[in-house]
């Protein structure tokens, strides 16, 4: 029952984005995942279409990475349904690589471990991420930022329909983060792939996100980020050239969570309507202050 309601209430939102008319790459309904008898995720409805950028936000432990891993097929959901487009190719950029230093590996070899790629294609991809000079460098000597770009290149080698990035900007400084967001945005344009981005920041998200989903065990809310350029103060803060890179996702919730993440005042399993009937304003035109004042309410 709840799934049908979701579909109806979500449809007007979808129609505001032309890219959402494209066929689904991944469509998840009522996804639940439990560990040690505790539901980490429950009742998650989600879809991503070709060429779309979706940003996942949420507190630590809110299940963002778990959900991404379910989409990747690394984890199996305990309930619900996950539909993937036929022959879907996914490029995955993990938070960090657990590469042991004892394994000697050049960047070139790393990119071609699982498939043969022509030198021309390889250089094209490395140029795209601005790392062509690293081709013959040992993986163990890469810096954090270089590693992120090489991981991105590796994900692109598969010619993915969907790129999944797990907190790519974590541990990268502000300038590096902006550059990375621009890069991801360019990749979407040049490679035509959809992007599922897990963001470490709750409010400042990638400006070119088509949708933002806030995940904390369930979908707290979903909406569209607002361009920073609409806010003179933020523009002053980030600088005019970065105004397009970042977006603000203004949201406040009509329910609160205990510190443990359990929801108070709503029973998630019975009532999915809070996602849509909630009072928070997805467009939030004049609510810049809302983003800064948002905090987890206590009882």
């Amino acid at each position: 029952m709840s799934e049908i309601i979701e579909e109806k209430t979500m449809s007007p939102k979808k129609q505001s984005h032309p890219s959402s008319q494209a066929p689904f790459l991944i469509e998840a309904s009522s996804i639940g995942f439990q560990r040690d008898g505790r539901w980490i995720l429950r009742g998650i409805d989600f879809s991503i279409s070709a060429g779309e950028i979706v940003t996942l936000i949420g507190p630590n432990g809110g299940g963002k990475t778990t959900f991404a891993r379910i989409c990747l097929g690394v984890l199996q959901a305990d309930e619900g349904q996950l539909k993937r487009a036929a022959n879907l190719s996914i490029g995955y950029v993990p938070q960090r690589l657990k590469l042991d230093r004892t394994l000697p590996l050049t960047v070139k070899r790393f990119l071609t471990v699982r498939q043969k790629v022509s030198n021309e294609d390889l250089l094209n991809i490395l140029n795209e991420v601005g790392s062509a000079h690293l081709l013959n460098t040992q993986m163990s000597s890469l810096s954090g930022g270089e590693m992120q770009r090489v991981l991105l290149a590796r994900a692109l080698v598969n010619k993915p329909h969907l790129l999944v990035l797990d907190e790519p900007a974590q541990g990268v400084d502000f300038v590096g983060e902006a550059a990375l967001y621009d890069l991801i945005s360019n990749i979407r344009t040049n490679f035509g792939c959809a992007v599922l981005l897990i963001s470490h920041d709750l409010h400042i998200v990638m400006g070119s996100s088509d949708r933002v989903l806030c995940l904390n065990g369930h979908v707290c809310c979903a909406g569209v980020p607002e361009q920073i350029s609409h806010h003179p103060e933020y523009e002053r803060l980030f600088g005019p050239e970065r105004a397009q890179t970042y977006g603000i996702y203004a949201h406040s919730h009509d329910h609160s969570h205990k510190l443990s993440g359990e929801m108070i005042g709503h029973d998630c399993s019975k009532d999915h309507n809070h996602t849509h009937n909630c009072n928070h304003d997805h467009s939030a035109k004049d609510e810049v202050s809302n983003t800064t004042s948002h905090k987890r309410d206590t009882e």
Binding site: R69, G73, V74, D100, P104, T106
Partner: protein
């Protein structure tokens, strides 16, 4: 040259060739303690072999496979970290081996041979088994090379890219079990994992690609076997330990070259 020396050299070099590619993956995947645990099951395996009157190497292999399954079961049903699970199993199977051998007076276990090996006593049958081992292991590694490499780079990334991690893990565990069973006679249970770890560690410092590391590992391993045999022949020291010390010597050498 004496027959037994030629057999020892052939068996040793054969083992070096078997252990080389697996040793690289053991080092890359931080699995050194896995080999150690399987080696601990050797006594139980020998007891099996004697009780069932089958080839002792086969008996040890069966015990090693049981440990592999045991490890999977422990990992699946508990939340123990891998090293704890391995430590638990290692000592349980060692204790079980000691209990079984103590209960059957008929079991004449050559403890010294078991613990420290006797490469000079290698038989023709052992040589055939080593030959079959070379074919099986190199065939397996060649078949699974890309998957194994992807797994060594990052398990999660490999999973996301569609590597059948469970299957690859299982086949690799079987290969390690077989290798340890085969090389037991050579260097004994105490030193058996040395063949997997030390040559790979020595090759690491001088290799730039994974493929080259495997080749260098095989080369260093073969050279160590020959050096160990010659050393034991001319200065009269036990052969297995002489081989291990030779490996350590090459490790030292490449560590110095690297700097």
């Amino acid at each position: 040259m004496d027959d037994f020396l030629i057999r020892a050299a052939l068996g040793g070099i054969g083992m070096a060739l078997i252990a080389a590619p697996l040793g690289c993956f053991v080092v890359w995947q931080r699995m050194a303690y896995f080999g150690e645990t399987i080696a601990h099951s050797g006594l139980l395996g020998v007891a099996f072999g004697l009780l069932a009157s089958i080839n002792l190497t086969v008996g040890v292999f069966i015990a090693a496979v049981m440990v592999t399954f045991g490890l999977r079961a422990v990992e699946r049903t508990t939340y123990l970290a891998k090293d704890t699970a391995l430590g638990l199993l290692a000592h349980v199977v060692l204790a079980a081996g000691l209990i079984v051998t103590s209960q059957f007076q008929s079991l004449q276990v050559d403890m010294m041979g078991l613990l420290f090996g006797d490469i000079l006593a290698i038989s023709n049958l052992d040589l055939y088994m080593v030959g079959a081992g070379i074919l099986a292991i190199w065939g397996l590694v060649a078949w699974l090379w890309q998957d194994l490499l992807a797994l060594s780079i990052d398990r999660e990334l490999a999973l996301a890219e569609g590597v059948h991690v469970g299957r690859v893990d299982f086949l690799f565990s079987l290969a390690i079990a077989g290798t340890i069973a085969l090389s037991m006679k050579l260097v004994g249970l105490m030193l058996v994992t040395a063949m997997l770890i030390i040559p790979a560690a020595a090759a690491m410092g001088v290799s730039r690609t994974p493929e080259r590391m495997v080749v260098y590992t095989a080369f260093i391993s073969c050279l160590s076997v020959i050096c160990g045999l010659l050393a034991s022949l001319y200065i009269d020291i036990p052969t297995g330990p002489a081989i291990v010390v030779s490996m350590a010597f090459f490790f030292l050498l490449t560590s110095l070259v690297k700097r």
